[in-house]
Amino acid sequence: MTALLHKGAEGFLARFEGLKERLPGDRHIREQAAAAFRAAGLPTIRDEAWKYTNLRPVAEASFYEPLTPLADCSDLLARLPLLDSPRLLFVDGRFREDVSVLPSRISVENFAEVADFGILARPEREPLVALNTMLVEDGAVIAVPDGVDAGMLQLISVGTDAPGRPVAFHPRHLIRLGRGTRMTLVEMSGGEGTYLHNPVLEIHVDEGATLIHVRLQDESPSAYHLSTLYAQIAEGATYDSFALILGGRVTRTEVHARLAGSNGATHLNGAQLLGGTQHADFTTVVSHDAPNCASRQTVKNVLTGRSRGVFQGKIEVARGAQKTDGYQMNQALLLSPDAEIDSKPQLEIYADDVKCSHGATVGSLMPSSYFMCAAAAFPNPRRGRSWCAPS
């Protein structure tokens, strides 16, 4: 078996060397990603895009290949607020048909079989996307045919506990909404124990289509969740997302949304409710490549204990993207003296007839407001996060 235990980036590269004969799909794509990852390594705080999020705990850990594709995960599933609609369930990154409920009217394939890497991901620019591209084994490849109202689909990830043997998984999901389609995608991530969940999602919203994407990240308290999402929004299409970030030890939710056709719209909203020593990073890049598009972002943080929230939001307006309407707001409520928020808005505007704004607020609760809520029996957020959690 493994004679020498590699850590961090080396461990992942060693795993790729051992696995590459068996991994599905285009070898060339994987080799290129491996070369990019070998050159870049895991991001460090010296990288501007990772200035506020330190991946040292990931770099210093050794992760193993998941071994439990048939593990019983009913206990873990019971903790997630599952809805009564079709669901695609992944355990440690691998599709589990036995506990999934397949949708009708939508085409669903497994990455393990079709190995579709998509076209939007940029492994050469994002080391974690390179890591995903190099090691991805499975994922959902979803296509909604033109004109179909696909209703609701749940995409669920569960990480299992393997004491002393933390696993890493890198699922790759590709979602294509055809012209004039609609879908509500409910994504949930949870689990138990220590693991690394490093998903990449690629989303295409074609002309006139609408995707509502609701994301619940409620990973185990000792888990790492580093997700990267690329969305391409065509003419007259809408990508409307809300992410609720509750779990994990160190997490990053990174979204790249490109408004590629005129009159498109995107909402990238989020809420991060953190306690203890949790660290959560919400990073977005909205590219306005076409005129008359609107983007809206409101990201709220409620931080207790020694937790730390990060918001990095960039709006890029290309030369021809006139009449762009971009708005970004980051708000943080700090409920303890040791909580921290880092907020970094960035605007890059190359068109001259645009409306772009950003704002940030940071504050704490006044003692009188606090007592008013306590006297009304609200659970104390200093002793947990339930005060702010959805009820």
Binding site: M366, P367, S368, S369, F371, M372, C373, A374, A375, A376, A377, F378, P379, N380, R383, S391
Partner: protein
């Protein structure tokens, strides 16, 4: 229901309560009267668990060691404080605020929580009973409320929560006679074997509308006299002067 033994409280080294003994049997309404600075509001804050006081003594509340509980635990156990100056909570909807409070109590009582629709039905029924407008629920908690509206809102919250013990801290201050009647009607409507109340007030006026079982006079951080409802009238006629000097001499 409430049993206070030798309760003292100080703030910044200054003694405010100097040994309070008070028992309120279940189902009774007691009033505490007293001059400015006698410790009336401090008593309500200490009982509801506000931070910042050095407290000693013993308080039993419905089988709980009250002083050992956090403020939210006291509230969940059935203690309700109607604030002298209700706090504005911008951005927090009144209906959401009250539903969160009610569900915390229901969880503590082992009852199922109410969803938004169930809660609105209950809240609207209470509003109707108390002759209050529906839009009270739609506004942010106390934001832009008049003095009278804030007090009505406290009474509405009390009616919805159905506490075991309600402490009304100078709920009558700043109220006109109509608002006073609404407050009094709200309290009287809840009176019964399962409802106990401690009414803290400056004036006898409120006690014309809510007739207490017992009246206690707080002066210099101690209860210096207790009596029936007629004591309130005596105080109104004679003032606190004699009592205050008695307390200082003691």
């Amino acid at each position: 229901m409430l049993d206070i033994r030798n309760l003292t409280a100080e703030i910044d080294g200054k003694a405010i309560l100097r040994g309070i003994d008070l028992t309120i049997p279940q189902g009774e309404v007691h009033a505490i009267m007293g001059p400015n600075g006698s410790g009336k509001s401090t008593l309500s804050y200490v009982l509801s668990g506000r931070e910042g006081y050095e407290v000693s003594g013993e308080v039993q509340f419905d089988g709980h060691d009250l002083l050992a509980l956090e403020p939210e635990e006291r509230a969940a156990a059935g203690l309700f404080l109607a604030f002298q100056y209700p706090v504005e909570l911008p951005g927090v909807g009144n209906a959401n605020f009250m539903r969160t409070a009610l569900n915390a109590l229901r969880r503590a009582r082992g009852e199922p929580e109410l969803d938004a629709v169930q809660f609105l039905m209950l809240a609207r029924a209470e509003l109707k009973r108390l002759h209050m407008p529906d839009d009270l629920l739609k506004r942010n908690v106390n934001v832009g409320f008049s003095g009278g509206e804030k007090k009505r809102n406290e009474i509405l919250q009390m009616a919805i929560l159905r506490p075991k013990l309600a402490i009304l801290d100078e709920t009558d201050s700043g109220l006109d006679i109509d608002a006073l009647r609404i407050v009094a009607d709200g309290v009287n409507a809840l009176r019964g074997p399962d409802f106990t109340a401690l009414i803290i007030t400056h004036y006898q006026r409120l006690l014309d509308h809510i007739v207490p079982d017992r009246v206690h006079v707080l002066a210099g951080g101690r209860i210096v006299r207790s009596g029936g409802p007629e004591l309130a009238h005596e105080l109104e006629a004679k003032g606190y002067v004699g009592l205050t000097s008695a307390a200082e001499a003691a």
